[in-house]
């Protein structure tokens, strides 16, 4: 066995790719938080047609393969006249996908709160919107961090499929390097280690966030019930 790690040559390319991976993940997760909250609220509080539309959206994106969604957006949309840049297509497809999952996490967390919290907020004169903003969301977001962390970590790794839409992310850069040098084994070990480092760092950061936001009686390891 003869392994050669030509890191000085590889790393600049791989780090470029890593940056793209981080950008895509951050944008997808950001889109997913905003759209996920809207979908969760629509399912919980909106009038029937909107609640149904949100449910249909969530079912579609949770019920079909993420790769099919990416191809639909990148290779499919041009046939109805919508042509997106690879990067944009990747962010859109993965962002819509994660928003469906995040919506369900948010909804679960909101529904797990006792009904008395909303009642008490309304009883002191808060509007429903104020109650959601000041009482329901701050509690639900604390409860949602652990499952939501999984979604972020999954997204970091799932984002690697965007190379199939010709985006040069970490996976894409690795693949090009490997096909040029035929050092598949070495290069993908390095690629895998780079993913691992990012995932561990994100896991640690989210744990810190959870500890920082922890309130007695609310959330993991300190449940009320």
């Amino acid at each position: 066995m003869n392994l050669e790690f030509d890191l000085a040559d590889w790393l600049p390319h791989l780090l470029d790719g890593l940056l793209v991976t981080l950008e895509i993940t951050a944008l997808c997760i950001g889109l997913g938080i905003v759209l996920g909250l809207v979908l969760a609220f629509a399912r919980l509080y909106a009038q029937r047609p909107f609640a149904w539309a949100a449910t249909a959206f969530i079912n579609f994106f949770r019920g079909t393969p993420i790769l099919a969604q990416l191809f639909l957006v990148y290779y499919g949309l041009p046939s109805i006249g919508i042509r997106l840049e690879p990067f944009t297509a990747g962010v859109l497809a993965l962002g819509l996908n994660t928003s469906a999952y995040q919506a369900e996490y948010f909804r679960g967390a909101i529904q797990s709160l006792p009904a008395g919290q909303m009642l008490a907020a309304r009883s002191i004169g808060m509007s429903r919107l104020q109650a959601l903003q000041s009482i329901i969301l701050p509690q639900a977001l604390r409860l949602v961090i652990p499952p939501w962390s999984n979604e972020l970590i999954l997204m970091l790794k799932y984002s690697s499929i965007v190379f199939l839409a010709t985006v040069m992310d970490l996976m894409g850069e690795g693949l090009v390097l490997a096909s040029e040098t035929y050092r598949y084994f070495e290069i993908f070990i390095v690629v895998a280690i780079m993913y691992l480092i990012v995932v561990l760092a994100v896991t640690w950061l989210l744990h810190r966030l959870q500890v920082w936001l922890r309130v007695p009686g609310l959330g993991a390891g300190d449940s009320i019930a």
């Binding site: 008395g116 004169g125 104020q130 009482i135 009686g217």
Partner: protein, 255 residues
């Protein structure tokens, strides 16, 4: 007559079950009125309909001369002037005692932070909880939580306070501290409508008792009349049962 709350022919049904069959009464300023009656008689439903946490099917409610049940009523503003204390406290779990009291002042009354803090601390002092202002609800006993819930209502400077079985979720040794706070409020002239079976509190603080059964008001009057010489057979039977559990009221002493 100086009515704070006027209730006229309130009706409420859940599916086929009629829980309120036409409730009417008037609550005058500074009075403490207790609502008693067997469980399922509609007491809590009635209380929730008063500030429309539950939407009544029929009937009208006035807070002073403003109709709460009017379609164009500013419900949030009206609710802010009606303190509401729940059986299970419902303190906001993510906020300290102080912030639980502050948040209504800040968000609903738009009070500046400093002023809201001072105001909230006064309310906490009034219920004897100022020294626990930095504690979260989960770090406090049920009695302490309920006192903070009362402070949360008081801080809004309400025109009246509604209490929905405020001691029913408490261990017997914790009811005293909550009732003591309510005694103080009654003496201080707060207008209160209290759903409760605390006979001792009724004797000490109530100006009037409303006895409800089967979704209707069966009898109402001053405690001495209802307890000693009730007009209705049902009232007498119910009070006898309560006395059998809690001991004869002749022996009730203030805590």
């Amino acid at each position: 007559m100086d009515a704070i709350l006027t209730v006229e022919d309130l009706h409420k049904s859940f599916d086929d079950l009629e829980v309120l069959k036409g409730i009417s009464f008037t609550l005058e300023r500074g009075r403490t009125v207790l609502v008693m009656g067997p469980s399922g008689s509609g007491k809590s439903t009635m209380l929730r309909c008063l500030n429309r946490l539950l939407e009544p099917d029929q009937g009208r409610v006035w807070l002073e001369d403003v109709e709460l049940t009017a379609a164009q009523a500013d419900l949030n503003k009206l609710r802010a002037s009606i303190g509401y204390v729940f059986q299970d406290f419902n303190l906001f779990a993510h906020l300290t005692a102080l912030d639980n009291v502050c948040i209504g002042l800040r968000k609903v009354k738009r009070m500046p932070r400093r002023q809201a803090h001072e105001h909230a601390m006064q309310a906490l002092e009034q219920v004897g909880m100022a020294d626990r202002c930095a504690h979260y609800p989960a770090q406090l006993s049920g009695g302490q939580q309920q006192r903070i819930a009362i402070a949360r209502g008081l801080a809004m400077e309400p025109k009246l306070m509604l209490f929905d079985e405020p001691t029913s979720a408490l261990d017997p040794e914790l009811t005293g501290e909550v009732l003591a706070v309510m005694d103080d409020l009654a003496r201080g002239g707060m207008t209160m409508l209290v759903v409760s079976h605390e006979v001792g509190f009724a004797r000490r603080a109530a100006d009037e008792i409303i006895f409800m059964e089967n979704s209707r008001i069966v009898e109402q009057g001053p405690p001495e009349q209802l307890f000693v010489n009730p007009r209705e057979e049902r009232t007498a039977q119910f009070l006898q049962r309560i006395h059998a559990i809690e001991g004869p009221m002749a022996q009730e002493q203030p805590p």
